[in-house]
Symmetry: C2
Subunit: 331 residues, 2 copies
């Protein structure tokens, strides 16, 4: 097997390992994206909800990476429908500073396809279900990311979610038949070399890694959240709308949010409708916990792969470790 | 890589490929178990809810396999707590007819461990969460099955379910540290050679295969359900309590049921509490559909892997195909 050596994703983006940093809002800042790029991966800054000042600051930091050809940015598509100023800013930079890749998730990417193509950035479209793939292909996606519901943060809710293990080979077959030059990344649950090699075996050209890179020194996630994650096994997360309600995030159905299943989450997870109807008291508890760095009530955004996270290394050391393990395992 | 050649599961059970037939209630009958055994896999008869007459008939049929050393049986553990007569019958057969392996799922296996051990059968314990593994080890499990929530039929509900992609490596690490001689199978989402090889890469010794073997000629699933499954992609299933309520199955929390998401399921999937409170009319619709073989309302028990099912081969041809693809892919 030469799963990693022959990766089309590595070849296309000039990488030494077929890994992309998931553009996690408020965690994938410039330092983390730059560290990933220096380590030979694609570093996607987490443009998230499209905050212009945050994106300007962190993307500019990321450009300090040795290889700016490996820096990109990601946005939440339905938020761009409200305010695309951060997208417009990053696409309007001088050509040598523009993102190598622009990733869109959670919404219809087609309205943004033309201006992304005109900028020279490769379009990466994340999907959670097979039925979303045609829309990504219509938008001209160079890369489709198949995100299983085991992923941390936003994804499809329980009724609609797919798992990485079935979604990846099914989309791989679809692309092979319909659009063989479109690349495929697996996302959700990939935290070590076994996972990277298995994703490639299932038909992916590489992996988009979130939780495992969230738990690194360069990640902007709060230190207390990272330390709690190191001591939590994979049973300890859940996917519901609880934290979106508490955070006043108006996410459209059918998306919800996976995070550590802490005490405040447990209190509401089976009464989501009641929380939605009268969230004031729980929001006060949540806000106080965020201010205090108390992750028994504040959210820590990781997926099931947290059970494979046992330390907080630098991103560079981590990527080297994942790559080496994947090549030993089968790459 | 020699993922398949070096399989400890194959060596332990005298198999030519590290595959076990999932003991699917009412689908994994004697003919299917026998066909799997003849093809070099472990054929587990679906003792399911512990119906004595069904188990006697189908297990006896299975013994007609050429190699009775590859025949076993599986039961739903919490149903044994009500009536263990089918378990007692199969364990009380003459030694040469006893099951090679006895699989328990969905409950505490420890009360049954001693009599299974005394019969000479290897105990296989299926778990859905890491936290269930210590109980399986206490029961003396020779094999732990890590079942992801993408599996068809019963499994953990949305709040508690784990995915195959993360559960397998995490349990593999746990067993390596705590009980290195205990074998591990992956279950949920595995329907082709890519999946079998990827499961082994993630740390499993083989795979327990349900949906893909459900869709074979020998499976006792209704022909109409099988034909509908062939034309359904992996987006077309869902996991809720709807069909358990309609079928009057009194499953304990936190288990529920994945099946094709047909018209009747869609009608109730977001109103499960209302269905539970007043199920009479929906049950009448369901019962009539079962009688008529109408799978727009009757259930078809498959998991997300249905999107990788495109034909209805014999079990023997299918197992040969999976094994060959897995060896090409990396085994």
């Amino acid at each position: 097997m030469n799963l990693l050596q022959n990766s089309r994703f590595s070849a296309r983006f000039g990488l030494s390992t077929p890994i992309a940093l998931a553009p996690m809002a408020l965690a994938s800042g410039g330092a983390l994206a730059a560290a990933c790029a220096r380590a030979g991966a694609l570093g996607l800054v987490g443009g998230g909800y499209g905050d212009l000042a945050w994106t300007q600051r962190e993307y500019t930091l990321a450009l300090q990476a040795q290889d700016t050809g490996r820096i990109g940015c990601g946005f939440i598509t339905w938020k761009l429908d409200e305010d695309a100023s951060a997208l417009d800013w990053v696409l309007g930079l001088p050509p040598e500073q523009r993102p190598r890749a622009l990733m869109l998730s959670f919404g219809d990417p087609r309205p943004y396809a033309a201006r992304i193509a005109a900028s020279g950035a490769a379009l990466i479209c994340q999907v959670q279900r097979l039925e979303q793939v045609p829309q990504a292909l219509e938008a001209g996606a160079a890369v489709v990311v198949a995100q299983g519901a085991e992923a941390g943060g936003h994804g499809m809710n329980a009724l609609n979610g797919r798992a990485t293990f079935t979604l990846v080979p099914e989309i791989a077959d679809h692309l092979a038949a319909q659009s063989p030059d479109t690349l495929l990344l697996a996302a959700g649950g990939i935290a070590d070399g076994r996972g990277l090699a298995a994703a490639c075996l299932l038909g992916a050209d590489g992996a988009l890694i979130g939780s495992r890179l969230w738990a690194t020194q360069e990640s902007l996630a709060p230190q207390g959240a990272k330390e709690m994650a190191v001591h939590t096994d994979g049973d300890g997360t859940a996917r519901t709308a609880v934290f979106d309600i508490l955070r006043r995030k108006n996410w459209p159905a059918p998306y919800d949010f996976r995070a550590l299943r802490n005490a405040l989450h447990r209190q509401w997870e089976e009464r989501v409708d009641a929380l939605r109807a009268d969230p004031a008291a729980a929001r006060a508890t949540y806000d106080a916990a965020v201010a205090a760095g108390d992750f028994s009530a504040a959210h820590a955004t990781v997926g099931e792969a947290v059970g494979l996270v046992h330390d907080l290394p630098t991103a560079g050391a981590l990527i080297a470790r994942i790559d080496a393990q994947a090549r030993r395992a089968g790459g």
